[in-house]
């Protein structure tokens, strides 16, 4: 009885840690071969713990057509798996990390049909992902405390590396991969390298150094030119009064440049010279703004972009087509969510239904 509860809480803790996003794109990520702008979004819906109901939603912004459970529809009713968390593109193929099922699912972005699957084993649960080149993709393997390298062209696992406890976000600049070792907050805060960013030399496949970050560092993202690295740390759940933080590093020298503290809710992203992050509101247990940091300025004061009320923001995506945002509303995390199409100033343009707990998307 009690343990069921404790276990559920643990699972909640672990899997709930999925609920923020980091931008896994990198300067070396290949362009999408589909002719832009197709005005298509493929949204990853996490699903509910233990329900095996992760899903993909396809939205056609031109026609307004929505296929809320696109993967199942395109694959004869087959389920995607349990707890999906990230999506990345390589040409006409999208790769989705399905964490609890320990799979990286590859689909054709035109048809939605599965074109391959990498099944990880042991404790390796794929979390965040980035496509480095046509022959190299990197995924963090969270409980496996490391990363897995795979070939996106052949859809074959290449290697696994240990980098630190509870790996979450990953980004690549040049020959280096930056991996966030969160330690799952309180659970692994005393483990070696918890709260650091592992710098992995992709040629030698060795960790060259660990960058001190902050308690429960979960997301990393690069500037558009790949010269700056930004990391988001959540702080410890046991210290709810503590502020979260964002750190700016020089991605070449690995030196910390600046640090901001505040009530941040994660989903760290970079676009058009600015950094974006959710503004966490403890009163409503959600985010009421997206904060925009113009990091080109020496002194940065974040600009709030107000979000519609009544939204449980589980993440957002920057819309590369026409600007603005896609805001992912998880509602109560136990029902189908919504994707809200917002303007750059946060005005609601339209909403679309989706699956349970939308969290990430690719837009092309």
């Amino acid at each position: 009885m009690l343990v069921r509860c404790s276990l559920r809480a643990l699972l909640a803790l672990v899997v709930a840690a999925v609920l923020t996003a980091c931008d896994s794109s990198s300067p070396s990520e290949p362009p999408v071969t589909a002719k832009p702008p197709d005005s298509i979004a493929i949204v990853v819906n996490q699903g509910t713990f233990g329900q095996d109901n992760a899903s993909l939603t396809r939205i056609d912004f031109r026609t307004g057509a929505v296929d809320a459970d696109w993967f199942a529809a395109a694959n004869g009713g087959q389920k995607l798996g349990a707890t999906a968390n990230d999506i990345a593109l390589k040409g006409d193929t999208a790769f989705i990390t399905v964490t609890t099922s320990k799979t990286i699912e590859a689909i054709n972005i035109r048809t939605g049909k599965s074109v391959g699957r990498i099944q990880l084993s042991g404790q390796s649960e794929p979390w965040r992902m980035t496509i480095v080149s046509p022959t190299l993709g990197i995924v963090t393997t969270t409980n496996g405390d490391g990363i897995a390298l795979f070939n996106p062209s052949t859809i074959v696992l290449l290697a696994t590396l240990s980098t630190g406890p509870a790996t979450e976000g990953v980004a690549v600049s040049g020959n280096y991969a930056f991996v966030a070792n969160s330690g799952y907050g309180d659970l692994g805060k005393n483990k070696p390298h918890a709260g650091t960013i592992a710098v992995v030399n992709l040629s030698t496949r060795q960790v060259e150094r660990y960058l001190p970050a902050g308690p429960n560092v979960r997301e990393v993202v690069l500037s558009s030119d790949g010269k700056k690295l930004y990391a988001f740390y959540q702080h410890l759940y046991s210290q709810p009064d503590s502020l979260q933080g964002i750190i700016e590093y020089d991605a070449q020298t690995f030196q910390e440049l600046r640090r901001w503290r505040g009530r941040y809710g994660g989903s760290l992203q970079f676009a058009d010279g600015s950094l974006y992050v959710l503004d966490y509101d403890p009163a409503t247990y959600s985010a009421k703004n997206i904060l925009k940091f113009d990091v080109s300025q020496s002194t940065v004061t974040p600009t709030p972009i107000p979000l519609p009320s009544g939204v449980t923001a589980n993440g957002f995506a920057i819309n590369p087509i026409g600007g603005g945002f896609l805001l992912f509303d998880a509602r109560d995390y136990q029902s189908n969510g919504r994707v809200l199409l917002l303007t750059k100033s946060g005005q609601l343009l339209r909403e679309y239904p989706c699956g349970v707990a939308p969290v990430r998307a690719v837009i092309f």
């Binding site: 909640a12 609920l19 095996d52 799979t103 994660g266 403890p282």
Partner: protein, 636 residues
């Protein structure tokens, strides 16, 4: 004791005890109204279903969870297998909103408010009684949706043994005996059950149907009772020691690519010592001490450390209950009761206010009143009321009440009943202290319930029909506290309403039982998008039909069908979140033989005889067809 017409006997508990006990139980409730006619029917003030010892022996039920599924308003949330968690939901309430009482002592764990009914074997029980509706004024905390009252078996003279084998490595044995010496009686009961739990099930993984076996589903349960009773006129003193221990796998959901908690283990040990003194002049004093230790291990939970998870939960509870005799004031019988409880919990995963444990002290007081008014020579009205106050050391206190009215008619054996009651449930320690989950700001849940019903009996047939409505406010639910963690809040409102029916008919050669429930349990927060949606895992339709046939003196056949309607696993009731209705069919054949002073009963059981593939809880597969052979030997 008040008689009139020689037909209707209102048991106001011997010169009007409003609050009475029944038999050896420490049941504390309003007295039943006994309508004395050819059927000698008992018409309780609230809808009540009782399974007696004799029924328990006939039913293909190894644990309380097996026995109660099918009763009106009852839904057992069964995670599958002998060791799987099994909790009860009455009228759509949560398991923690249903009080489970053993010999008058609440078993609901202070940690999470739950009781695993799969851990309580029927072999130890004399009766299982389920009262539906909010009964907090009688039972105290947790009795929001209903109450499960368990009374331990009172063995007769002689020795009775039972043994069973069954599918998937099931083994069971039980023994009971009683010895009387002058004013002293000592009784012993013991029960052991085990199962490999490796039942097969069909699972679709990445588009391919597979037939696989449940792993880590093994369980071994042992339990026993020792009871000493001393009748020292004018008092009766009893001491009861109930103990149980279990070691089992705790497998989680079966998911594509993963089986959660594939090696997780759960060990439990529990002792309940109960002493009672029924003194002259109507005084009753009870004292209880309970020790409950639980250990959870999962070597694969490496995120918890290099050796995985190894969590311990240690609870200690004590209770003292004093019931002075009732008094009669102006034809109104008034009975008080005082209770004191202390609960302590230690565990690895809590963040207590201070130190390494949390303690809850509770002082409760009840005053009940009953008034009976004869209408004519064959009809009477009974009015009952009760007020209860519970004062807690760590959470807000509660004052609750109960109003009941019954109209009974003797010549035409019909009874009507109505009740209005309030209920509450204090936050569990998990909801207060569990790290990253609990909140110190949580308030008790509150409820208001109404019930109206009719009971009719005629020539061996009994029909009961009840309608109910229940509003639960401040329901404690888990909500996302941020994008990365969940926490509890008093954010839920639930409205439950429905109709329940039960029918029984018995002749020497035939017995029929049927029960049905149609209920709507919905979210009731008008501001929420879930308003009007069916609450998770609350089937709208429940049904049971049972037929028993006695063939000659030595053969008995029992067939039972159960139906559980659609359950939703998403709060928006999305169609794909619906779990399909479940229908199961069980068959039992018993052969009785008397050889000298030995009575033998051999029973063959076929459970889920039609081999239905189903899950009560999503991704927790239930066993398919199972067989079981039982042999009972009674030395008289």
């Amino acid at each position: 004791m008040q008689w009139w017409g020689g037909q209707v006997l209102v048991l106001c508990v011997a010169t009007a005890h409003v609050l009475a006990q029944r038999g050896d139980s420490v049941r504390y409730t309003f007295a039943p109204v006994l309508v004395e006619d050819s059927a000698r029917a008992v018409v309780p003030a609230v809808p009540t279903a009782q399974i007696t010892r004799h029924e328990l022996e006939r039913l293909p039920a190894a644990t309380v969870a097996d026995a109660v599924q099918g009763l009106p308003g009852v839904f057992v949330r069964n995670y599958g297998g002998l060791g799987g968690l099994k909790t009860i939901s009455v009228r759509g309430a949560t398991a923690s909103q249903t009080a489970v009482v053993l010999e008058g002592i609440r078993l609901n764990a202070v940690a999470n408010g739950l009781v695993d009914l799969g851990q309580l074997p029927t072999a130890l029980l004399e009766t299982i009684t389920i009262e539906r509706g909010s009964r907090s004024a009688v039972w105290g905390a947790n009795a929001v949706g209903g109450t499960v009252e368990l009374v331990l078996r009172q063995p007769g003279d002689g020795v009775r043994t039972r043994a069973a084998i069954g599918a998937f490595g099931e083994r069971a044995a039980a023994i009971e005996s009683s010895v009387s010496l002058r004013a002293h009686t000592i009784s012993v009961l013991a029960d052991v059950q085990s199962s490999r739990g490796d039942y097969p099930f069909t699972f679709e993984e990445f588009g391919t149907l597979q037939r696989i076996k449940r792993t880590n589903g093994d369980a071994t349960l042992g339990s026993g009772v020792v009871r000493w009773q001393w009748r020292a006129s004018p008092g009766v003193f009893r001491f009861t020691l109930f103990g149980r221990s279990s070691e089992r796998g705790a497998p989680g959901a079966v998911l594509q690519g993963a089986i959660e908690n594939a090696v997780a283990r759960l060990s439990e040990t529990e002792f309940l010592a109960l002493a009672s003194a029924h003194l002259g002049e109507g005084w009753t004093i009870r004292a209880a001490f309970r020790a409950f230790d639980q250990r959870y291990r999962d070597s694969l939970a490496r995120f918890r450390g290099p050796n995985g998870a190894d969590d311990r939960f240690i609870a200690r509870d004590a209770a003292v209950v004093i019931e002075p005799p009732a008094v009669v004031l102006w034809k109104v019988s008034v009975a008080p009761k005082l209770e004191a409880y202390a609960n302590t919990l230690r565990g690895d995963l809590y963040r207590f206010r201070a130190g390494s444990s949390a303690t809850r002290l509770q002082l409760g007081g009840v005053i009940g009143a009953q008034y009976a008014q004869r209408i004519d020579s064959s009809a009477a009205v009974l009015l009952e009321s009760g007020v209860r106050g519970d004062f807690y050391s760590d959470v807000p206190s509660a004052v609750i009440g109960l109003l009941q009215a019954r109209w009974v008619k003797a010549h035409f054996p019909l009874a009507l009943r109505m009740s209005l009651s309030t209920g509450y449930r204090p936050p569990s320690f998990n909801e207060l202290y569990y790290q990253n989950f609990g909140s110190l700001d949580i308030r008790p849940e509150r409820s208001v319930s109404v019930n109206a019903g009719v009971s009719y009996q005629h020539e061996g047939a009994q029909l009961e029909l009840d309608g109910f409505a229940m509003w639960i406010g401040d329901q404690i639910i888990a909500v996302p506290r941020s994008a990365i963690t969940w926490s509890v809040q008093n954010a839920g409102r639930v409205f439950s309403r429905g109709v329940e029916g039960a029918f029984r008919w018995g002749k020497p050669q035939w017995r029929l039982s049927a029960a049905g429930t149609v209920q709507l349990v919905t979210y009731d927060d008008r501001a929420s998008f879930t308003y009007g949606k069916q609450v998770l895992y609350t089937p709208a339709v429940l049904g049971m039909f049972r037929i028993e046939r006695q063939i000659g003196n030595d053969l008995r056949v029992l067939a039972q069908a159960n139906y559980i309607g659609t359950r939703y696993t998403q709060t928006d009731n999305a169609p794909r979140s619906a779990l399909p209705p479940v229908g199961t069919f069980d068959l039992s054949v018993e052969w009785l033989v008397h050889i000298g002073g030995v009575r033998l009963a051999a029973t063959g059981e076929l459970l889920n005889a039609l081999d239905a593939e189903y899950a009560i809880i999503r991704n927790f597969p239930m066993p398919g067809r199972m067989w079981r052979l039982r042999l009972q030997v009674v030395l008289e």
